[in-house]
Amino acid sequence: MKFQIRKKRGLFALACLCMVVLATSCTNLTAVQEWSKSSLEASQFNGIVATYADTPVRLKRYDAMHFRQYRKPTEEQKKMFALRQKVYGTNAIERQIQAEALTKVLSVVSDYMGALSTLSADGTIVYSKNFNALNTEICTLNAKLHAGKGISTSTLGAVGSIVQMLIKPYQARQVKNIIEQANAPLQAILAGELREIVANDFQDDLKAESDNIDLYYDALLIDGHPSSAAKDAVTEWREVRREQNSARLHAVTAYLTVLDNLSKGHQKLYDHRNKLDDKSLVTDLYALVLDLRKQIAILAKA
């Protein structure tokens, strides 16, 4: 009898120890989920791609040979004008094709963030609700089957908790595996050629458009001795175009910050993949989430 009691106590202590070990091995993925959810939202603001694609159409506006009505253009000027019209036309078509390809690249990044967000979400395993309901149902069944001799409530509770604790680490392992596999190609995209396109090509494109605006409107202002009213109107229009250009540049800068945030955040996830709820990682991820929300606010206005 004493041996039976000692055996039960021993088994109970072992079960408690297992629960403690399992409890401490549970990884909280909340910060991972928050960051990847915000990354998904931010990466979907890809209006800058359309801005890039439409640039040749906008530039044609600033290539009107306004002085042609006053002076006969030379043959060389006619040739240059014809060349430019051809180049703008070709570029417009080519950029539409590029825009489709770029949108697909950005969609893949968004899809990955969406998958990571879902994989790390508590809601993906709706077990808490099920377990509570299941525990209640088993208790009711127990009571009907063997009055007082069924599975004890505490054992049922322990079983429920243990299974919960088994699933959480399993989920964390799956998230770790995905982060491990995705980091190299994701960094190649975010910190590689995609970043170059946004940082160099998109920005330089808009700066060149700003030069076009200055060239065109400066020539208009000195052409044909305009009246004061005409000068004022031209100056005002130039400011409107400059502001539009500036707003587009601002959106590109915001998107570049988003790409850098995604690259940095994912690299941190990779570096801490064996402890995804590490304090310093969680702090860093939440700081990145705040920054992402700022950029989302800028991109939403653009």
Binding site: L83, A115, P185
Partner: protein, 135 residues
Amino acid sequence: MPLALTPDDARTVADALRAAEHSVKHYMDENYNQDQHKISRAEYDSLYEFCQTLLCLSNDATTAAVGLSLDALAVPVVELKGVIEEANQKIKTLTKISSVMSCVSALVNLATSIIDRNPGAIVTSVNKLRHAIRA
């Protein structure tokens, strides 16, 4: 054999064309403005056309740079798509766990209804079990 152009080569060309336009525009502003005309109107017009052409070709070089960069992105994009597919499979596995528990829950309900000899509850429990199995 044509030279292989890299995205950075195309960007260098675009930058050089823009820099050239800045130099010419600066010359134009210095030598033909509302206060003084150190160059003739015809010369100004020629330089204006030249600047327009430089900016147009800069735009063209940027288009080339983006095209070349997109080619370089093809491989990592395919790789990342593979990882996304795997992630979606893992999500399906995780959600199946909750489905298994729904089945167990439905079985317990059925057992309870049978013990209670409650025909209405038995029918409801059987339907719940069917639904859980199909989920």
